[in-house]
Subunit: 355 residues, 2 copies
């Protein structure tokens, strides 16, 4: 793909042509499993998506060795050498200032330069957010990017944000998250007026902290389809399409949910192993339990968007295996196809209240 | 039980003799199911616990009519007439100021007067907290009571607080919650030095908001067995015995968890109903699924403590059925037997850092 210098000059990073034969930059050095897992995910994705080109950013020698061991389809990957790695222990500030040759930084640079339409990393969330914000910048009307993901619900799914990028949020920030979430839900689900709920600890107007109460007022006066306060239980029903909260609350909610889901799976396994008879029943129930397990498999939902940037950046769970990381690349491809950054840029215009 | 005037004069409300033949005041007018559900729970509890006396606070005529329809054991209940009811819509301030003859207020008064050793209500949490704090007062060293409950974990259980009483907390408040949670875990589980974790969005020291970081420092300098930051996933493992957070975060975490558990149960039912064959397998799997369902049944964990008061106050979930509400009374009886308010009073002494 040719280097398009106009892209680097402060415009949106994704060029329109990218959506047909998209190129995605992969931070190969990220994640708990490191390079071998990411490379397996790369091969998995390339086998499934014949139209996609992947730029593999990381330790050149190790990437080449891995490709010699297990080849990837000819001509569909480019190696971009990176000499540094952002670790999970690096502070966002250190990663931003001192690791300019890291795989994470170079992957984001590729998006900025228009050489890739998106980047995907399973690395340090704080660093990914800080570097993305610095390199790509936010779209006008957005002060801070937010992390958003799709959460399974009893009937359908919910888009939830922020999930950890912004710990202390003003009412205005929550309002911006609501707008971005609504635009994303429109794009992904084709819903004309997504229902937006504000996460709170009770549905009565008087409850909640000051930011949440003030955000409720901004939302009530906006042109969004704001339906009021929702509680934690409502995330997993079909009550709203978008759930908005600050990053501390969102992160705790998401991780608590993960914890419960794991515990429940553990209990279910224990019960089907509690006796010889239970194990026998378990043999017959295996396809049913497998189908159930697939539905709550967190790998299916792996890949969170850093919304509000002038480019697509997807954060994979650190513990992602090849299946999960490949799903995160799929989410990057979906956001490229929908041109989410441009949608947010154009639709935010005029939607921001005068403050 | 004789009225003990010394109890009403600012001392601890539970008299020592109460732990042998405890009396519990029940807010009969509370909960989504109202009086019929609470009365069924009363009969259930009395059948199980022959040593307990219950004071039924509420609409005298309706309680009597219910007892005529389905009698309770002779001489083991006392009706305490109340002419008002705190509704779910009442603000805490209105309930406190204007509803002095409500079933909730009178039930709490009975604890203050030493006529009951605990009270249990499924009503408005904010009102219950405000009235309890006003009538019973907190023990020295505790600024605000916290709502605490027992959460099932993969191996064992976790005590978590605050779950919604205190939306904005200082580091000092979080420290006080940690101390109370530790004392409760010592009492309930017999653990010498319960492991205390502070809920955060990452385990690195730099993460989290200011209050959490400052609380971490107070805890590190305290004599508690503070083990550092924990994440939402850790609530459901055996990593710590006590999880501390502010009431907004705690409430969202708990309700998100409830939502996931419900969704998972729903999915499991759907899978076992997906075909005739699946239904047939489901017949054989029924006892296994029943045993599994019992383990994640939220009714088992119903009953949250308002810790830090000079008396035992237990909040039942509003949607509690008779099984769940009876469990909440059991928790009241456990805290009476352990004399939790006095334990907190005596052990807080000296544990509070100089600020």
């Amino acid at each position: 793909m040719a280097y398009d210098s106009s892209m680097a000059a402060g415009g949106m990073s994704a060029s329109p042509s990218n959506s047909e034969n998209p190129t995605v930059a992969i931070d190969v050095m990220s994640g708990d499993g490191g390079l071998p897992v990411i490379m397996d995910a790369v091969r998995r994705l390339l086998a499934r998506r014949k139209d996609v080109h992947l730029m593999l950013v990381g330790d050149e020698a190790r990437i080449e060795a891995d490709l010699q061991r297990k080849p990837a389809p000819e001509g569909r990957t480019t190696i971009v050498p990176a000499t540094e790695v952002v670790t999970m222990e690096d502070s966002a500030a250190v990663a931003l200032r001192n690791k300019k040759q890291s795989s994470m930084r170079l992957a984001i640079n590729l998006v900025k330069e228009g050489r890739a339409s998106a980047c995907v990393s399973a690395g340090n969330t704080g660093a990914l957010m800080a570097i993305s914000k610095f390199v790509l910048k936010t779209v006008p009307g957005i002060d801070r990017p937010a992390i958003s993901t799709t959460i399974p619900a009893i009937d359908g799914h919910t888009h939830m944000l922020d999930l950890g990028a912004n710990i202390d949020c003003t009412a205005e920030h929550l309002y911006q998250f609501a707008t971005m979430g609504s635009i994303l839900a429109q794009a992904v689900d084709g819903t004309a007026a997504p229902r937006v709920g504000l996460l709170n600890i009770g549905s009565e107007d008087m409850k909640g902290n000051e930011q949440v109460r003030d955000a409720a007022q901004l939302l009530a006066e906006s042109n969004l389809n704001y339906t009021g306060f929702v509680e934690g239980t409502d995330i997993y029903t079909d009550r709203v399409d978008v759930v908005v909260c600050d990053g501390f609350v969102g992160n705790v909610s998401l991780k608590s949910s993960e914890g419960v889901a794991r515990m429940v799976s553990h209990y279910l396994k224990q019960e089907f192993n509690a006796s010889v008879w239970n194990k026998l029943v378990g043999v017959f129930a295996r396809p049913i339990l497998k189908s159930f397990g697939d539905r709550i498999d967190p790998r299916r939902y792996n890949g969170a968007s850093l919304l509000g940037l002038r480019g697509v950046v997807i954060k994979s769970h650190g513990s992602a295996d090849k299946v999960a990381f490949a799903n995160a690349i799929d989410i990057a491809l979906l956001e490229i196809a929908l041109d989410v950054p441009n949608m947010i840029r154009t639709r935010m215009h005029g939607a921001v209240p005068v403050t």
